[in-house]
C-alpha cells in the first residue's frame, strides 16, 4: 500500500516535528475530535514526542464510546428475544451497558451476529425471514448514509423483518457543547477528516466565527496529523482564527452531496443522550416519520428498562481534557480491556484503550 507509506515516512515526520517545536512559543492545547486520530497519535508516538510543546486532548470522537448505556441495554434486551437476531459492528459487543454487554448477552444465549456493514444486516434479514433482524446503528455522520441505504434497501425488498436501533450521533453539536462549558481548555480543533469527507467542512465556518477557535480538517496518518497540528499551532502563534483543510486529498468543501441527500431523506436531527455528556441538543439523528416503521423502538413494544447503577467511568473528564486516561483512578486497575468499566477502554478507538496499548513509550 504505497498510498499509506507516503504518509508514514519517518524522515518527513521528523522534519514536521522539528518545525512544530520551532514555531511554538508556548504549550498549546489542541483537541483531536476523532478516536481514529487519537489512536494514530499514540500508536506512532506523536503525542509523546510533542509533550511540552502541544497538549493533545482526546475528544469525543468515538461513536462506540459515546453510545448511551440505555441504547446498549435495549439492544441486549431485544437480543434476548427468541425471535430476534441482533446485528452489530464488532466493537460494540464488549461495551458495558448497565446490565452487561452484548457479549454477556451472547454468552447467555442471545443471538448476536457481527456485521461489517449495514447492508450485511439487510442480507441477514433476507436469509432469515422467520426472524426479526435488528441492526444496532451506531456511528457518526460517516456511517449514517450507509445505514440510510440499508433502510431503503429493506424497503425496496419489502422486508418486514428488518429494523434499527438508531444511535447515530453528530459531531459538531458535541464540539459546541464542549467549548461552551465554563472550564473549556481547547484552543484549537483537529476536525475529523472522514466526517468531513461526507459532510464537507463548510458548516465549520460559522463554528470558527462564533467561538473564535481555529479548526483544521485533518487525516489519520502520522504526516496528516503532524501537518494538522502544525497548521493549528501556526494560527495560534499568529493569533489567527481560520478554517483550514489539511486533508485535501480526500475532503472537499461541500462533502459528498449524494450521501448528504440520503441522510436528509431518511433522518431528522434530534436531541440525543451521549454517554458521559448527557443530552446534547441536536446531537443525534433519528429516522424521520415516514421511515419510523424501521425503528426497533416502534416495532417492538418492549418496556423501557431503567439504567441501573452509577457509571464509575470518568470518560467525560477524559473527553473534555480534564483527565488523562492514566490518571483515572480505575485505569489499569479495575478498568482494563478485558473487564472495562467504560466505553473508552473497549472501543479500538477509545482514548483509554489507546493509552492502555501504547501508553508507555521509551524514546529511541
Amino acid at each position: 500500500m504505497k498510498y499509506l507509506d507516503e504518509y508514514r515516512d519517518p524522515e518527513a515526520a521528523r522534519l514536521l516535528l522539528d518545525e512544530i517545536r520551532r514555531v511554538s512559543t508556548r504549550c498549546w492545547t489542541l483537541m483531536e475530535v476523532c478516536g481514529g486520530q487519537t489512536h494514530s497519535l499514540l500508536r506512532h508516538g506523536i503525542a509523546a514526542e510533542l509533550e511540552g510543546t502541544v497538549e493533545l486532548i482526546h475528544g469525543p470522537g468515538c461513536p462506540v464510546c459515546v453510545t448511551d448505556q440505555e441504547a446498549i441495554d435495549f439492544a441486549c434486551q431485544l437480543a434476548q428475544r427468541d425471535d430476534v437476531i441482533l446485528a452489530s459492528f464488532g466493537d460494540m459487543l464488549r461495551v458495558p451497558g448497565s446490565r452487561g454487554s452484548l457479549l454477556d448477552a451472547r454468552t447467555a444465549g442471545a443471538r448476536i451476529q457481527i456485521v461489517y456493514s449495514p447492508l450485511d444486516a439487510v442480507q441477514l434479514a433476507r436469509k432469515h425471514p422467520e426472524k426479526q433482524v435488528v441492526f444496532f446503528a451506531v456511528g457518526f455522520e460517516t456511517t449514517a448514509p450507509a445505514t440510510a441505504l440499508a433502510v431503503k434497501q429493506a424497503a425496496r425488498d419489502q422486508l418486514d423483518n428488518f429494523s434499527l436501533i438508531v444511535s447515530h450521533v453528530r459531531v459538531q453539536p458535541a464540539m459546541e457543547s464542549l467549548v461552551q462549558a465554563p472550564d473549556n481548555r481547547v484552543q484549537a480543533f483537529l476536525a475529523a477528516g472522514h466526517v468531513c469527507t461526507v459532510m464537507g467542512y463548510e458548516s465549520y465556518e460559522s463554528f470558527v466565527e462564533q467561538y473564535r477557535l481555529p479548526v483544521v480538517v485533518t487525516g489519520f496518518e502520522p504526516l496528516d496529523l503532524l501537518e494538522g497540528i502544525l497548521a493549528c499551532v501556526k494560527q495560534l502563534e499568529a493569533n489567527e482564527v481560520r478554517l483550514e483543510n489539511r486533508y485535501a486529498r480526500t475532503v472537499q468543501a461541500a462533502g459528498n452531496q449524494s450521501a448528504q441527500d440520503l441522510v436528509r431523506e431518511i433522518y431528522q436531527i434530534c436531541d440525543r443522550a451521549w454517554r458521559g455528556f448527557g443530552v446534547i441538543p441536536e446531537g443525534g439523528l433519528e429516522l424521520c416519520l415516514e421511515w419510523r416503521q424501521y425503528d426497533a423502538r416502534t416495532r417492538f413494544s418492549e418496556p423501557a428498562l431503567p439504567v441501573l447503577g452509577i457509571d464509575e467511568c470518568r470518560s467525560f473528564d477524559v473527553m473534555t481534557g480534564h483527565l488523562k486516561p492514566p490518571d483515572c483512578p480505575h485505569f489499569r486497575k479495575s478498568c482494563n480491556p478485558e473487564s472495562p468499566l467504560g466505553a473508552p477502554m473497549v472501543s479500538s478507538e477509545g482514548a483509554c484503550a489507546a493509552y492502555y496499548r501504547y501508553g508507555m513509550t521509551a524514546s529511541h
Binding site: 519517518p10 508516538g45 462506540v64 461489517y116
Partner: protein, 345 residues
C-alpha cells in the same frame, strides 16, 4: 435377512448410523477413509498401530481443528490438520513420521465434502512423507458440531541439532519472520464474513518441513528456537518467548513482511496483522549475526521467499514485547485479547 428399519445405505450424507459401529461404519471407514489414505499400517486395521523402532528420541504433539468454513482459499480443514501437526513437530526439531486422525462428523455432512477433505489429507501427507497410521470416526447429531471437526496427533523423531529453546534467548539474538504475516486469519475472515473481496485473499496454509530442514542443515546450532505463528499470530509467539527467556523481544514495524491485501483489510477493520493467525509462517530466533544468512537460506525456498529479519532480543526494558513504529519510539505490544472484533469506522 431383512432389517426392519430401513437404513439408507447409499445416502449421500453422513448419518448417525455411520457412527454406530455397524456395517455402515465399516463401509465408511474402509471404502472412504482407508481407501483415501491407503497404507499398510492402516489396512491392517488393528486396534493399535504397530510401528517400527526408531533410533532417536520421540516428539509427540496433538491438535484439534474446528475451522469454519471447511474450505477456504489456499486450503481446507484437511490440509490444515496435516500441516498444522507436522509444523508443530518440525519447529520442535523433529522429523514427522506418523499421524493419527480422528474425524468428528456432524449428521448431514455431505459425503462428497468428506471425500474432498480426505483427498486433501492424503495429498498433504504424501507430500510431507508422513503416514496416517491410526484413526477414529464419530458422528454427532445435527447441530452438535459445525460440519466436521478433526483431531490429529503426530509422532516425530528428534534430529540433532535440536534448537536450544526460547529459554536460551540472549541479548542481540535476531528475530526472523519466515513470510508475510496474517494471511490465514484474513483469508478465513474474508470468506466467513463474506467481505466480498475480489480476488479473495488466500491462506498461507502449508508445510514448514523444508524451510526447517534447510535451516537445520545450514545454520545448525545458530538457530535458538522456532515456532509456527498460528493462533494469536506473531505477537503471541513473541509473548511466549519473552516469558520463557525473561528478555524483551523488540520488533520494527517497518521491516515486517505484510502483503498489501492483509495490510489493507487490517487497516479497514482495525486489526493488527501481528495478532492474526498464520498456518505456514513461523518465527525464528538465531544467534546474533546469523540473521542475514538465515534469511538468505530461507529466501531460496518458495514457501519462505518473503522471510525478513524483523527485530532483536534485548535486556528486559519497558515491556516484555515491544514494537518500534514510524517515529522510532518503542512501545509495548500487547497480548491479543480474545478474538479480534473489527471496529466500525
Amino acid at each position: 435377512m431383512n432389517c426392519p428399519v430401513s437404513i439408507p445405505t447409499n445416502a449421500d450424507y453422513v448419518t448417525l448410523a455411520h457412527g454406530e459401529g455397524g456395517r455402515l461404519s465399516r463401509k465408511l471407514i474402509q471404502e472412504r477413509i482407508v481407501h483415501a489414505l491407503s497404507n499398510e499400517t492402516l489396512l491392517a486395521m488393528n486396534d493399535a498401530a504397530q510401528l517400527p523402532r526408531v533410533t532417536g528420541a520421540l516428539a509427540l504433539t496433538t491438535d484439534s481443528f474446528v475451522v469454519s468454513p471447511l474450505f477456504f482459499p489456499g486450503g481446507d480443514i484437511g490440509t490444515l490438520a496435516v500441516y498444522g501437526t507436522i509444523n508443530d513437530l518440525a519447529v520442535s526439531g523433529a522429523r514427522p513420521l506418523w499421524l493419527t486422525l480422528s474425524l468428528i462428523m456432524e449428521e448431514g455432512l455431505p459425503l462428497v465434502i468428506l471425500d474432498r477433505v480426505l483427498q486433501s489429507i492424503a495429498e498433504a501427507a504424501q507430500q510431507t512423507g508422513v503416514k496416517i497410521v491410526a484413526g477414529d470416526t464419530k458422528v454427532v447429531p445435527r447441530g452438535a458440531a459445525d460440519g466436521l471437526f478433526i483431531n490429529t496427533a503426530g509422532v516425530g523423531e528428534l534430529i540433532a541439532p535440536i534448537p536450544s529453546g526460547a529459554a536460551t534467548l540472549q541479548e542481540g539474538d535476531e528475530l526472523i519472520v519466515s513470510g508475510t504475516i496474517g494471511r490465514h486469519g484474513i483469508a478465513i475472515l474474508a470468506v466467513r464474513e463474506e467481505l466480498g473481496l475480489e480476488p479473495l485473499p488466500s491462506s498461507d496454509c502449508g508445510s514448514l518441513l523444508r524451510p526447517v530442514e534447510i535451516l537445520r542443515e545450514s545454520m545448525g546450532h545458530q538457530v535458538r528456537c522456532l515456532r509456527d505463528a498460528t493462533r494469536g499470530g506473531v505477537a503471541a509467539v513473541m509473548q511466549e518467548w519473552a516469558e520463557a527467556s525473561g528478555m524483551t523481544l523488540s520488533i520494527e514495524e517497518q521491516s515486517l513482511p505484510v502483503s498489501p491485501v492483509v495490510r489493507g483489510i487490517s487497516e479497514l477493520l482495525g486489526l493488527d496483522p501481528l495478532h492474526i493467525a498464520n498456518e505456514g509462517t513461523m518465527m525464528i530466533a538465531v544467534k546474533q549475526g546469523a540473521g542475514a544468512d538465515a534469511v538468505s537460506f530461507l529466501k531460496s525456498l518458495p514457501e519462505t521467499a518473503d522471510a525478513q529479519v524483523v527485530g532483536t532480543v534485548k535486556h528486559r526494558g519497558i515491556a516484555a514485547v515491544t514494537i518500534k513504529r514510524t517515529l522510532g519510539a518503542e512501545q509495548p505490544l500487547d497480548d491479543p485479547l480474545g478474538s479480534p472484533l473489527p471496529r466500525i469506522c
